[in-house]
Subunit: 377 residues, 2 copies
């Protein structure tokens, strides 16, 4: 087999680096525009970031959102979405979209999925129908969805997993990555390889080397935040970013808490996604500069303050904790809408402040201040 050794041009342009850490301030360019990094990507599983509109996302300043290939493949189907101009046309979002490959969701189905060399056989969580996704299918589905940043189909393993199982899964992920790269038919889209390797540093390095050798537009770090200790997650992140080419985007998948974002950036990660801000919003847990605020607590019953006095989001500019608590305990739909706006704003604004700190080369001070405020509460 003759390898094409020409590496794709990187979509990343680095603007500033941190002298104190591995952090970088950069811009990723897709066919739908630019993304200022480090960036948090709100999750829009079913062609909607739950409870808010694309206009709300733009007001907040989100430049890229994530769609879940598995969910959209199952319902309403990628061919239907393709008819509507892809996800962008279907859901009325004209900025960038990153899609996952479906691998993680299929893995989450557990008993409903079977992994073979060829691909993943699984049953729909909606109606139990038998479905199959090969690496080639995963790329074709993401191309039909009109994704700007596509992910290779990867195999995910439970945590903890022993070395033998991890070796096998990581090797299969590598073979699938090569098939995904070969299957790509739309060169205007970006395709990221996913580094696996479980909690074994040497397997992470091997996996990173494999992905870099294949050559992708960016590199994701998969298989973390699956139950391991925080220290392990940070160590595996660092082991991986150390092996990745400096000038390509790095994406830590499914992570995480605000603290995780700060630590990921410190270790050289550019992109993050997580359901935490949107899911917590619907559970009445709001992020603030001094920690989490649990709306249902009786102490907020007649509290006239906004959720966070330092916050400039739509919700904090217009509503009191007392009103938001009333909506939440009354199970009013507006609660989910306003809470989601606040939590996504918190994450997007945190990343904006991190970017400013990198540009000013004061990320260490920012990080100390960030933890100091959380501890003060």
């Amino acid at each position: 087999m003759i390898e094409d050794n020409t590496k794709p041009p990187s979509p990343l342009r680095i603007l500033s680096t941190s002298s104190e850490s591995q952090a970088r301030r950069a811009v990723v360019t897709t066919r739908h525009g630019t993304i200022q990094t480090p960036v948090f990507m709100p999750v829009g599983t079913q062609a909607t970031v739950k409870a808010i509109t694309p206009d709300n996302l733009k007001d907040i300043g989100a430049e890229v959102i994530l769609g879940n290939t598995y969910h959209l493949f199952v319902r309403p189907g990628h061919r239907l979405i393709e008819q509507f101009g892809g996800l962008h046309g279907f859901m009325n979002w004209d900025r960038s979209i990153l899609t996952d490959s479906g691998g993680f969701q299929i893995f989450s189905l557990k008993d409903l999925a079977t992994i073979t060399e060829e691909g993943a056989a699984f049953r729909s969580h909606l109606d139990g129908s038998r479905l199959f996704l090969s690496p080639e299918d995963a790329v074709a589905v993401q191309e039909a969805l009109g994704s700007d940043i596509m992910m290779c189909l990867d195999t995910c393993i439970p945590y903890p997993a022993d070395r033998a199982e991890t070796v096998a899964a990581t090797a299969l992920t590598g073979r699938w990555a090569r098939r995904c790269r070969a299957a790509q038919s739309r060169p205007d889209r970006l395709l990221f390889g996913i580094v696996q390797g479980g909690m074994f540093a040497d397997l992470r390095r091997q996996s990173a080397d494999t992905m870099v050798e294949i050559g992708f537009d960016g590199y994701a770090i998969g298989g973390l935040s699956v139950g391991e200790e925080k220290a392990t997650m940070y160590e595996m992140t660092e082991v991986t970013t150390d092996c990745l080419p400096f000038d390509y985007p790095r994406y830590l998948m499914g992570v995480g808490t605000p603290e995780d974002l700060v630590e990921g950036v410190w270790r050289g990660v550019d992109m993050f996604d997580c359901v935490m801000p949107t899911r917590n919003a619907r559970n009445g847990t709001l992020f603030t500069s001094t920690g989490k605020l649990i709306l249902k607590n009786a102490r907020y019953r007649d509290d006239p303050l906004p959720v966070d006095e330092t916050c400039t989001c739509y919700t904090c500019r217009h509503y009191s904790r007392a009103y938001l608590r009333h909506l939440f305990v009354s199970r009013e739909i507006l609660a989910y809408h306003l809470n989601t706006i606040h939590n996504i704003h918190y994450y997007v604004n945190l990343m904006r402040r991190i970017r400013e700190a990198i540009v000013d080369d004061r990320l260490a001070a920012f990080r100390n201040d960030f933890y100091g405020r959380l501890a003060a509460e």
Copy 2:
């Protein structure tokens, strides 16, 4: 007892009348601005019009919303809301608010309520706690809520009800109305009397005469749309408006379908409220110029058209039936948000078109065209 025979000045200014019907095009002025009538008032039961923001309501053109005194009295309590500058401050709405008196909701509790001369004893639907509301309390609660247009506490009867029961309830409503008028302490708020009388034309006339004799800022027609035939509802509406002073606002409570609004305006009604547009939105039933559209129907699965091609609402400008159907069958919160925007826009826009037809004195033609389009589907 010495009666004060000075009638309050009417908040209604009539701009045009219909030569073909009893319809009037007018403006009602409250301390929060003007309301173009005939008007539909979206229902905001628990200090929120379900699933949308006050900014969404303003974009749609709503000038007045309704709050439910019973619900707000039970949770979070009128004293808490008063601390936040009333409902306006609490929910961030700076246009007019009409509140009901709580009578209808207490009546709806059935076994949980006992009516005496003094007032209504009832149990909270939330925790079963014992509560009491006298006519004086109903006014005090509405004043604390900061309502612009308050309603007298009335007694509601089941349908059908016999003459004796109707006579007794209507008489009690009259005595309570007098107590409400006497209890009003804020002359900057408007207070409406409620005409009852069940399905008996002579009792309706008696009740209207009583209310007019007491003298209110406007007159509501209560106790309709409770299960009677449409013809009966329209007849009772007409019997009542015939007895009411020409130059005061008339409000048909809890009504109704788009057809009911057209028929109510025809018979001289100025104001309407109903949960139908908001509730139907959450059930996936959308109003269009050619009738109702049931989103879950499979025929809309890949339909690229907006809900109504003649509609200019935010939802119709940005989304296809296929996308809205996907959101609805996926139980996404955004479905309730976008559907509610459309349905309220439909109602508000219908009233705008009715007002234009009155000004141009072509309401009969408008009404024929309105029914013609519905029949064409």
